[in-house]
């Protein structure tokens, strides 16, 4: 069976408008968590967030996409454009390419503005932008991506699940390549939602720290081009990494909370390793979900401890750089993992001071360069509804 490889990456978030910017931000420990200045919200003075500090007009200009859009679509268009350019997809190839995107808010930014107008049957064109599939349709139409169009929404594991679905489409030979990932604009809806759950930190998030106070939200779009190795070799494009294995499981424990033992995270990681026939000792780095909430980080630590049984494992959460970008998070962290494989580095888990009592796990707190070996990376994404996904990326060797 042909392997699934990655031939393009594209991303925009608080740490940059391109994957090149991502790389330099990670290399220079430059996070993007700042006071809220783009989203118009009553909570602006109270919380920090990882915003893309560009207006919708600027994003429109950057992506080249015109007409009425949601901010989610605009962010997505910027990232997809970069992924297409790196993967060297021309019109003819795009017509035979699929897209599976994901989002949690879709066009909620407009719905927040015009909700009461909808009640009076006014500004209905904005209501048409609300459904989650709309941004994917716009991407498909704008870039001429024709072979398969779908949208997934499984909360904070969305983009990772889009990758699983895309990889399977290629394996079953329905398409040779598919653009997969996710996008979420920051919205009043999610900001207030996480506030109501009391898991929003009023300062910089501290993933895996004993005194963590919750998460910072962020906004982002991130996509990768998945391709069958055969098709990629045939057209001579540079291969960036393998999507070696994947697993999605459900904890069936609680609608929002993770189990104290980290059962879901443990299962997802275990099944991904089994699919790749890989030993625990062969994992070089885990890009953790690590949101900075009390519940996630202790649960994920338990899972890591259970899986690695005291063996030394390098891990870090990059959410203190980007904020938690919800549906896009799995995409952002896939892009970061692929950058790590190609540039031999492990990004720092910022703001960490003391390990969690009982877990005693210390993440990578300083940027590590020239990491050898760095062949296998697990990327975790966990979402509401007990949804746990682990992707396994590996270094591409000819």
């Amino acid at each position: 069976m042909s392997k699934i490889v990655i031939t393009g990456i594209g991303a925009i978030s608080a740490i940059g408008n391109s994957t090149e910017d991502f790389l330099s931000s990670l290399m220079e420990n430059r996070h993007g968590i700042k006071p809220i200045s783009i989203l118009r919200t009553a909570l602006a003075g109270k919380y920090l967030a990882g915003e893309v500090k560009l207006s919708n007009e600027a994003l429109q200009h950057m992506s080249g996409i015109s007409g009425m859009q949601s901010r989610t679509s605009l962010l997505a268009a910027v990232a997809v454009k970069e992924a297409i350019s790196i993967a060297q997809l021309d019109y003819a190839l795009l017509a035979q390419t699929g897209i599976i995107s994901s989002t949690t808010v879709g066009g909620m930014d407009n719905t927040e503005e015009f909700y009461y107008d909808f009640k009076e049957n006014k500004n209905i064109d904005f209501a048409k932008l609300h459904p989650s599939g709309q941004h994917t349709n716009q991407l498909a139409n704008y870039f001429g991506i024709d072979a398969y169009v779908s949208t997934v929404s499984t909360a904070c594991s969305s983009a990772s699940n889009a990758m699983i679905i895309g990889a399977r489409l290629i394996k079953s030979k329905q398409v040779d390549r598919v653009i997969v990932g996710g996008a979420d604009a920051l919205s009043k809806f999610t900001l207030n939602g996480f506030k109501s759950l009391m898991i929003l930190s009023d300062t910089h998030c501290k993933p895996f720290d004993n005194n963590r106070k919750g998460l910072n939200l962020g906004e982002a779009a991130a996509y990768v081009v998945l391709e069958s190795e055969e098709a990629a070799i045939k057209r001579g494009v540079k291969i960036l990494a393998n999507l070696e294995a994947y697993s999605n499981v459900n904890e069936a424990y609680h609608q929002t909370a993770s189990s104290p033992n980290g059962d879901g995270a443990f299962e997802a990681m275990t099944k991904s390793l089994a699919m790749a026939n890989l030993k625990v000792s062969e994992v070089d780095y885990i890009n953790a979900h690590g949101t900075g909430t009390d519940n996630n980080d202790s649960s994920e630590s338990m899972a890591i401890n259970r899986l690695f049984k005291g063996e030394d494992i390098k891990f870090s959460s990059t959410k203190a750089f980007t904020g938690h970008t919800l549906a896009a998070a799995g995409g952002v962290e896939a892009v970061i993992s692929i950058l790590c494989l190609n540039h031999g580095f492990i990004p720092a888990n910022l703001n960490f001071e003391n390990p969690i009592d009982g877990a005693e796990l210390t993440p990578i707190t300083e940027l590590q360069l020239d990491v050898k070996p760095l062949n296998y990376i697990l990327s975790n994404s966990f979402g509401f509804g007990g949804n746990n996904t682990t992707l396994l990326f590996s270094k591409y060797k000819i």
Binding site: A155, K171, F189, G385
Partner: protein, 307 residues
């Protein structure tokens, strides 16, 4: 779609009670027959409909815990989403209700099923508007083909709200409806198998409808004359009877899940709803067609297992 999906159980909550009697509103079954009262209290209307339809399908298939769950829904729990949104807008972001926010997440229905059933396998939610259910079916076929699972629960559910009712004419021709429908599917034919899904096709490019139908029949290696019945909002194949299911129960984005369960019921019972007053016989191949104002259309072929 290469791997056929054998249908071993179906369940639906809709205006068509028992796939036969048309009601003025979506029939609300006696939920506590299938869902413990304690759990029922915490479920919204759409969660109840979705869970009831799903458990009905599983019971028929004699499956306690499905290995995987794929749900298609355009809006998820829309009532809760609007409740959360209007509270924050009305109160200048001062008060908000965490449970409405939790439920507003699109995968709440699939997640709720996982908890209710203890289903620890794959749990996906597809939200691509009018193709959400079709996408869920296509992924089901591919994951069964990959060998990750041998059975999967696939369904579609959407609910209506006042605002959606008032603006729906901008997106759809039929009156808006709501409902939930699920199918328990397997890779291998089970003893209690009712019918088989042979293929699914989605067109986002606004192809000419007859070209789309012909291409699908060609791919399915079926002659249009061998289609016994069409479930469609238009006369799709000349001289073939069709049931306009969208006008019948009201339209909603994941309605093809309901149409699929209706098709299975017709094939299994060899009868259409009584009020149609049709004499039918030998219904072996049913074609489910759906289309929207934006030009997107889809086809699902459901056949008798002997076909």
């Amino acid at each position: 779609m290469k791997t056929k999906l054998y249908i071993n159980g179906i369940g639906a909550v809709s205006r068509l009670k028992d796939f036969n009697e048309l009601q003025s509103e979506t029939q609300q079954p006696t939920y506590k027959e299938l869902i413990p009262a304690m759990k029922l209290r915490r479920m919204s209307r759409i969660m109840r409909m979705s869970n009831f339809a799903a458990i009905t399908a599983l019971k028929q298939a004699e499956i306690d815990v499905p290995q995987a769950i794929n749900v298609g829904t355009a809006y998820g729990c829309l009532v809760d989403t609007e409740k959360f949104l209007s509270t924050l807008l009305d109160n200048n972001e001062e008060f908000s209700n965490p449970s409405a926010f939790i439920n507003s997440t699109h995968n709440t229905l699939a997640g709720s099923l996982a908890i209710l059933l203890g289903a620890k396998g794959q749990n996906f939610t597809f939200v691509h508007a009018e193709n959400a259910f079709e996408n869920a079916l296509i992924d089901a076929s591919i994951s069964l083909e990959e060998g990750s699972y041998s059975d999967i629960l696939v369904g579609g559910a959407d609910e209506k709200t006042e605002i959606l009712e008032s603006i729906s004419a901008n997106f759809m021709d039929e009156e808006i409806g709501e409902g939930a429908a699920f199918l328990s599917l397997s890779k291998k034919q089970q003893p209690n198998c009712k019918a088989v899904i042979k293929g699914v096709s989605v067109d986002n490019k606004a192809m000419d409808t007859s070209d789309f139908v012909n291409a699908f029949c060609h791919e399915m290696e079926i002659d249009a004359k061998d289609i016994s019945l069409v479930l469609s909002n238009k006369n799709l194949i000349a001289s073939k009877p069709f049931i306009d299911y969208k006008s019948m129960i009201g339209d909603y984005p994941s309605i093809t899940a309901f149409a699929s369960t209706l098709a299975v019921n017709i094939i299994e019972k060899q009868r259409v709803p009584d009020f149609l007053e049709w004499d039918v016989f030998d219904i072996n191949n049913v074609l489910v067609y759906n289309s929207y104002k934006n030009g997107s259309q889809s086809l699902i072929l459901i056949s008798n297992i002997f076909e």
